[in-house]
């Protein structure tokens, strides 16, 4: 997610106090194993790494910047030898507190491991280091007619290691699948210091699918140091269209009807009225600001299939009383339409200075009903809500916008957010579609999972991390909080 000029509000609470690790034995050992300038312990520098792009603040004990697998292994070993938790960090764009260090942990920052190691354009795969930025890989392989399919809104700044850790999504994952479907193998520094390759270039070795279990494990199963990704052929033809509707229901019904008709467009994105108004004021793309909902549909592939689907989708939208149809006439217009979608989060700054972005998934058929409840919840708490979301896979992104200087507003945002998660799960949905659990939703896991289900997840994690020091206390609630009460860490808003 790109924050642009709006910034997440920063709470005043710390999750817990820092150890005094600065220039202690851990820092000294790291300076010796890496280099002086790639180990940081000053208060200013540690402060920069005390949280990711979420609102949850922790405390870093030491920050280091390895440049190789051997250095990552050395850093992990030093942390484990000193009983110090360690947290892998990419670009820090995560929204669930997954990379927030707790209790003075060692932050292992992978931004300097940003080389594309090899590209095999024939078999369409590449080996990259974890710090390679998502969009940089796509740009690097464009000359081969290929791209990396997962495309989070933050793709200009998020790293592929971070995509792997969070099993990230993006608008084009509707047709092509999320990150897990595009990661074939990963070299991983295990918490015990072993280096193993999980998965294979062929993607289907015998044995347990440890690669599949590792993807999305939020830094709690080890640190990926080299990643083999599948590359996807660019489509020969792409058409992007916009429909606008008088009601959100009609837009949502159009989405369901397109899928039920046997089409899986490359993207199906929706924005509600408040969001359209904010975006239009920001980019002046000629969007209809009086519409209740705007639906962006993109079809991609060989020309005849694209032309046929375009025609059928327009007919379906008209059957659902769309008010107007706009089909991008050239690449510039297509880029403008997508700019509107991908800068929606930045556009909110024109309305209020702060926002809190949610991420839940509901069955497509439940979209109209859940959206109604989201509006009702926000109204009851006196919070403004804008919706911009991946309608095709039911992935909601309610954006609560507010001014943190208003007294009591944080509590209301917190309460509204939790209610939104609850109504999503109650409607047959899930806690998170692409941002992950981290700290943000850790204590809401019991909404979806019984103690036995959580125990199985804990067993998976324990098989990878025998030390318990890889990004501990994330994702899984402590057994004591598995009951009815949800203990949310200080500073976490859900």
């Amino acid at each position: 997610m790109t924050a642009a000029s709006a910034t997440p509000a920063t709470p005043t609470h710390r999750v817990s106090g820092a150890l005094t690790a600065a220039d202690g034995p851990v820092a000294a050992a790291l300076r010796s194993a890496l280099s002086d300038d790639r180990v940081r312990t000053t208060a200013t520098e540690l402060g920069l790494y005390r949280r990711d792009a979420s609102n949850i603040e922790g405390s870093a004990g030491v920050v280091c910047f390895p440049t190789s697998t051997d250095e990552v292994r050395a850093a992990v070993r030093i942390a484990v030898d000193h009983g110090m938790p360690f947290v892998a960090r990419g670009s820090g764009t995560g929204l669930a507190g997954g990379a927030t260090p707790l209790g003075g942990a060692l932050v292992i920052t992978l931004t300097k491991m940003n080389r594309i190691l090899s590209v095999d354009p024939v078999n369409r795969l590449a080996w990259v280091e974890p710090g390679v930025l998502n969009l940089d890989l796509t740009r690097a392989v464009a000359a081969h007619g290929l791209h990396f399919a997962p495309d989070p809104s933050s793709q200009q700044s998020c790293s592929i290691g971070g995509n792997l850790a969070n099993n990230s999504g993006g608008p084009h994952c509707l047709a092509d699948g999320v990150t897990s479907a595009h990661v074939l193998a990963a070299e991983v520094v295990m918490p015990d210091g072993d280096v193993v390759v999980l998965g294979s270039e062929g993607g289907e070795p015998d044995g347990y699918d440890l690669r599949g279990a590792f993807v999305g494990s939020e830094g709690m199963c080890g640190i990926a140091t080299r990643i083999c990704v599948r590359l996807t052929q660019n489509p020969p033809d792409v058409r992007t269209m916009l429909f606008d509707f008088d009601t959100v229901d009609e837009g949502a019904q159009t989405v369901s009807a397109i899928i039920a008709a046997g089409m899986v467009p490359a993207a199906l994105e929706m924005m509600d009225q408040l969001c359209v108004q904010a975006v239009e004021a920001y980019i002046h793309a000629g969007l209809p600001t009086d519409a209740a909902a705007l639906l962006l549909v993109e079809v991609a592939g060989p020309v005849h299939g694209v032309a046929d689907e375009l025609e059928r989708i327009v007919a379906i939208a008209r059957e659902h009383r769309c008010r107007s149809v706009r089909v991008a006439q050239d690449e510039a217009e297509r880029a403008l339409i997508w700019k509107g979608r991908k800068t929606a989060f930045g556009a909110v700054a024109r309305i209020k200075p702060n926002y809190y972005l949610h991420d839940t998934v509901v069955p497509r058929r439940a979209l109209p009903d859940v959206l109604r409840q989201v509006y009702e919840i926000a109204e009851r708490h006196g919070i403004l809500v804008m919706n911009v979301f991946h309608a095709g896979d039911g992935n909601l992104h309610p954006l609560l916008v507010f001014d943190k200087r208003e007294p009591g507003v944080l509590e209301r945002v917190h309460a509204a957010g939790e209610e939104i998660v609850r109504v999503s799960v109650a409607a047959g949905g899930v806690l998170s579609g692409e941002h992950g659990i981290g700290l943000e939703k850790r204590d809401l896991m019991p909404l979806m999972f019984a103690p036995a289900d959580l125990a199985a997840q804990a067993a998976l994690r324990a098989a990878f991390d025998t030390t318990g020091l890889a990004n501990p206390t994330k994702v899984l609630p402590s057994p004591a909080s598995c009951g009815d009460s949800h203990e949310v860490p200080e500073g976490a808003w859900i």
Binding site: D209, I259, A456, L460, F464
Partner: protein, 290 residues
Amino acid sequence: MDLTAFAAEVGTDDPVTIAGLGTRDGAVAGVRCVSAPSGIEWIQADEMTVSCGAGTPVDELSAALAEVGQRTVLPAGGTVGGALAVGRSGIRRLGDGAVRDVLLQTHYVGADGVVVKAGGPTVKNVSGFDVCRLLVGSQGTIGFLGDVILRTRPIAPHSAWFTAATDDPMAVFAAVHRPVAVLWDGISVHVLLEGHHLDVAEQATRTGLVASDGPPTLPGGRHAVRPADVLAVTSGLRPGAFVAELGMGIVRADADAIPPTPVDPGVAAISRRVKEGFDPTGRLNPGRTA
């Protein structure tokens, strides 16, 4: 689906094995055998999801899904649970994705006889650790699948096999756009194309492919190699005696045609801990390994 009876049948103490139709190895010999519940719970075409008992035959599921113009990526034959437990994709993996990505949610019975839920019901979900990925391909060694929710895909409007005799199969592989399968048997390349009939016809003509009846007969053994090594690995095999899935690194040939890739000790250690964590007494499918 009520799995109380199935969980009771799996029990808590003695060694136990599971079989569907016995298509893919079936039960472990000499061990008490159970079967998962069968039957389709629901099909939600507009969600692209289906829920069924793991004992449901794949072909029964496919027939029911075909009525709404959809299908899953599970290879034909046997039961849904068997196909997932083995976790091997069919020859359509290039276009369809892997069997490993089809399982969205399951209730399985663990070694302690307790019903456990893994995953979630929606096509997009990153809520917690992905136990579903561990179950697919686990050969029933960490839990017995009871019911499942699977992701479905639309059946393409047009689907056709093509072939061409060539000694440069990678040139064909490079020239076709997102084919469903490209197979090479040392003599000819066999390509499955799907989509709009005009696109399929134009691609075939442009690439010099001619219509064929279907894929070649697949030899029994299945070997996983690096995709980049496929031509080198198969150069030592008699043309016609193997079928390689280009881009996927799967070579089907006699079971002893290609030496197996040794398992990395580090990977073996993690796998051992997975087994110990989920089935500490080793009672599920004893003797079998994933």
